[in-house]
Symmetry: C2
Subunit: 432 residues, 2 copies
Amino acid sequence: MPNNRYKVAVIGAGFAGLSAAKELSKYDEFEICLIDRNNYHTFLPLLYQVAAAELESEDITSPLRGHFRKNRRVAVMHCRVAEIDHANKTLHTDGPDIRYDYLIMSMGSTTEFFGTPGAEKFAFTLKSLEDAVRLRSHILSCFEQASLYSDAHPTIYPNVSGQDKTDRQSALKHIIIIGGGPNGAEFAGALSELVRTSIYRDFPEFDRNSVQITLLEAAPNLLAGFPPLLAGYVRERLEKMDVTVKLNAAVTEIRKDGAVLKDGTFLPSETVVWTAGVRATDLAAETGFAAGKSGRIHVLPTLQIANRAEIFVAGDLSLPEGETVPPMVAPNAIQQGIHAARNLVRLVRKQELQPFVYHDKGSMAVVGRGAAAVRIGTRTLTGTIAWLVWLAVHLTYLVGFHNRLMVMFNWAWDYFVAERSVRLIFRSWKER
Amino acid sequence: MPNNRYKVAVIGAGFAGLSAAKELSKYDEFEICLIDRNNYHTFLPLLYQVAAAELESEDITSPLRGHFRKNRRVAVMHCRVAEIDHANKTLHTDGPDIRYDYLIMSMGSTTEFFGTPGAEKFAFTLKSLEDAVRLRSHILSCFEQASLYSDAHPTIYPNVSGQDKTDRQSALKHIIIIGGGPNGAEFAGALSELVRTSIYRDFPEFDRNSVQITLLEAAPNLLAGFPPLLAGYVRERLEKMDVTVKLNAAVTEIRKDGAVLKDGTFLPSETVVWTAGVRATDLAAETGFAAGKSGRIHVLPTLQIANRAEIFVAGDLSLPEGETVPPMVAPNAIQQGIHAARNLVRLVRKQELQPFVYHDKGSMAVVGRGAAAVRIGTRTLTGTIAWLVWLAVHLTYLVGFHNRLMVMFNWAWDYFVAERSVRLIFRSWKER
């Protein structure tokens, strides 16, 4: 059934790609092909809650095809793009080739280790659902291993003892989080709640306070870009929750058994989590388009690539010309996705394209129950009210009615029963 | 803190092991060590619903430590037993050695392929949570691949065509289930519902009825051991749901691309699921204890091994002397676990041990919404009433309050919205 619609390929179904595809699907001129290596969209701002055993995988994901059931002009393709051949307007994938008239690049970002030795090999990352489930399984496995060698049942396990045992126990019960941005800070808070509710109850053989959580930040403050008042609040709350916050603490090496700081200190730990940097995906770099900071691709204010009017870039990957650099956050990705789609409509209708302007609605970070830091415009909020705002915003944006109900249920359960229901170690994901 | 309690090791936290540990934990004489390679108990009778994307992993599992929080005499150990050194009353594990005074072996069963060529390599199994998630991901991936090469968007994917394409499509959209026992029949029914609700809606490019489900049974009837009336009902219902039921259809070879029947017929399929047999685990065989049918270990009517009074065997693994052979089902495992525990109490209290008698409460199989076959004693039920009985029994036995709520919620959602919420392809588990 050939037709005269414009063929639009959208690479990546994150916030930018999904928003762009949804917006374009409203217009009859287009036939859209939404390509992702996963068959689901991941609500990344809550990923750390899966890693902290607070939410289930299904809570923060929604099947892509579910979004486009009523629209046969959108084809969801579950494959990986291997090469963007923009001269021939063709994508080479691990499935069939895909020809396009217009392209929206929205592949998002990946972890940047800044060349830190050992980081890529030994650090856990927190950028995909698989990362989160792997990290959760690893952390719970460490506690199980620590329990195996604890002193709780000496008559049953007589063959381990001495200083080696104590050292190993400490390393198993120490989690290091590198990067004091919202992701790292929120994960530290969620882990502290996990430990103080479920873990100490599940492992009565652990001494209270024997589990250590360390948050390392290279800068002199947490939450770069947040008002100092909020950053201070978050730090204080985290410390009250027994998280050790170390500022000016750059990491120079990650080993299997811990992390080395700039001042030479070695922190033994079986679990080092890297949340300290992001950069554009390799696929973006291979296109040869001019890239700026973090490998983000330079685009015109219209989000088009200069001299390549048929290619738009949206989301983390996009670096529009202008005075301010939009942050690599979900609201920016959503706004850019919609903007790119609307500009494409203008393009095919031969109307004037509009420059993208990022609307900064604010920023927020949650530390634990009833404890969050929120900035709305220039206003700041902390504590329970901030937490309620955080809750409302995240439930509103969480994709899909079923997910919202489930997440509310899980959160309510955690809140009232103070108990995590998701504590499964999946073996397939245990080993790195 | 050494003490004078008897050390009991329980290997395996399935229905038998978990029941035994729970029963023993009521008595102050024992210090119990419950060992499992997973940190959770799996409600195996509903495993096929995870494979059919009906329930989430978390719905049918419960963390082991959650069961024993209030009882410090029970230690949960997350490790694998490598060797049972019964001469020295010691277990060698991939963690520490474990010494015991008494042992309960309840390692359950594993898949038996009866030496069918290719089966172990190419067939999917359905005996663990990992199996179920891997199978779900594979089936959904097959549909995604079939979609990639469909005719829905010829202008986008111009490079595939011809007979090869049609053949490959058919194989991707054909699921073969080997074994017409309750597991195979229930899985066939659940898959049919998945296909007829979510899949045809998610993949509008698929022709209605283009997805094929074939259930192969070597015997002349489905559901061996069920009253013929019920077996007939289940077969009829499955056929109404477009499942192709082939009786007297023994499989002689499984290949990557399909299954070969005894009469030489080759059925092309990318997904061959084996539910046709179970046998004792390898660890049981290595103990050298006398084994009977399916490798099950011969025990006295008291569930003890002859001349090894300190070792009890419970569950699928146990073959007690007597006229009737108890079936390898959950109710038998639960009854044996409790019985072994109570006999152990009698043993240490120097009371007379009691012979195990299996109380057959009945059997049941569910085919789909409002369609089940139930035998209670000699009474049989089919249809909606049977389905309600099935529902009540499974919710009652499902471990944990949180799970029950979640399962009810998921089932109600499926029932009223006719929509599966769990349709994620986990990449780590995609490849065999």
